[in-house]
């Protein structure tokens, strides 16, 4: 059974659409369910506030949904947009795009559920600061969506850039590696950022007068925990934009695929770990604002050490791309 190029490209784009929406639905649903659960907990504490809590829950769920909507957009593009079919490389690009967006939406979806839930719970505890809680929930969720945005950027580039002129043999692995690299690395960063944002909303509900300091610490903690997904984005760009000579052996494509796997999976753990660190730091900045300086410094030192395995993974990726 021989596949000609247009058939292979169609096959790949449909498979990619399926992978994209299938994986992408996981995260958003989990996050929104968590928000709804904590909202119910909040209502059981304070039934009179149910209207306000449900409103906040819906807003929080809408932001958590955006990762799922990014997946839907990529899936629809893969299904209905007619693509120029010039070479088999395009087929691999479409599968890679689907994988990238699908995996990338998991982390951000689950992560955005935390601030929504904690904000709803916080409203039941301290109804007076509901405006501030909603604002911080939106800020935290929006920053938490950043890894999904990176995945969408890489997926769109894989869809729309023309790779037809590149030789088939190593480029198929480079594109697949590019998709895996950003897609997987975004899982950890999304989760980590969400944990920090949840702790921020919880802290504000406990101690509303510490809002400024807590929000600042949350933003710094979230920014550092997004670093593994940024490394993934960097490796993806390098894999997509480097030009490769034609490879007759199997070794060269496997090296590029290995680079993508290394950075992709290597970004999961440090992202989650940095989120745990930021969660601890933000919780205690809310409880003891005077210690915020030493807490921020300790958080950064701890996060820097915890990111070292992401840096090892990036070094191995870069060695696989450039040296071998």
């Amino acid at each position: 059974m021989t596949l000609d190029i247009p058939t292979a490209v169609k096959l790949a784009s449909y498979a990619g659409a399926g992978i994209c929406m299938g994986l992408g639905a996981i995260g958003a649903a989990l996050g929104e369910g968590y928000t709804a659960g904590l909202a119910n907990q909040g209502i059981s504490r304070d039934p009179k506030r149910s209207g306000e809590i449900v409103k906040t829950m819906l807003v929080g769920q809408a932001v958590a949904e955006s990762a799922g909507i990014f997946s839907l957009v990529i899936a629809i593009l893969l299904l209905f947009l007619g693509f120029p079919t010039t070479s088999m490389v395009s087929a691999m690009a479409f599968i890679a795009a689907g994988l990238c967006m699908g995996a990338g939406a998991i982390g951000s979806g689950i992560g955005s559920g935390y601030p929504g839930g904690e904000a709803c719970l916080g409203i039941s505890r301290q109804p007076a600061v509901s405006g501030r809680l909603t604002t911080n929930m939106l800020i935290g969720s929006a920053v938490c969506q950043t890894p999904a945005i990176f995945s969408m950027v890489v997926a769109l580039m894989l869809l729309f850039l023309d790779f037809g002129k590149a030789p088939v043999s190593p480029t198929w692995a480079a594109l697949l590696g590019a998709g895996i690299s950003t897609g997987m690395a975004a899982i950890g960063s999304g989760l980590g950022g969400g944990m920090a944002a949840g702790a921020c909303c919880q802290g504000i509900a406990r101690n509303p007068e510490t809002t400024g300091q807590v929000t600042t610490t949350m933003l710094v903690g979230q920014a550092v925990s997004q670093t593994p997904s940024i490394f993934g984005l960097l490796v993806s760009f390098i894999l997509m934009f480097k030009s490769y000579p034609e490879a007759a052996t199997l070794a060269a494509p496997m090296a590029l695929l290995g680079a993508g796997i290394s950075m992709g999976f290597g970004g999961i753990g440090p992202g989650i770990g940095n989120g745990l660190t930021a969660q601890g730091a933000v919780t205690w900045v809310a409880r003891k604002v005077e210690a915020s300086g030493v807490l921020t410094r300790t958080m950064l030192v701890g996060q820097a050490v915890s990111q070292s395995t992401a840096i090892y993974a990036m070094v191995v990726s870069l060695v696989l791309v450039f040296v071998v």
Binding site: G258, F265, G267, I272, G273, L276, L295, S306, S308, T309
Partner: protein, 82 residues
């Protein structure tokens, strides 16, 4: 594209290096992050002890890093020696 023996070995070595470092980075990342989070909590409870708590955190994280370093060593061996 004829797949020869030596070429197949090299290809497998590269994929192995990627898998080794990729999956190997998950555990230390989560573990060290957990340690740092608890250290922040402890400093929040007692800011005066920040020096001792930070030192303990760093020692614990260094030990937790060891499997990550094993992964790095195996990956580099697969890349350059095999």
């Amino acid at each position: 594209m004829a797949i020869e023996g030596a070429d197949l070995i090299k290809a497998a070595a590269f994929i192995g290096a990627g898998l080794a470092m990729g999956f190997g980075a998950i555990g230390p990342g989560v573990g060290e992050g957990f340690a740092a989070g608890k250290a922040c909590e402890a400093i929040g409870r007692k800011p005066e002890e920040a020096g001792l708590l930070t030192r303990t955190m760093l020692v614990g994280q260094a030990v937790s890093e060891s499997t990550g370093i094993y992964s790095l060593v195996v990956a580099l061996l697969l890349l350059f020696v095999v």
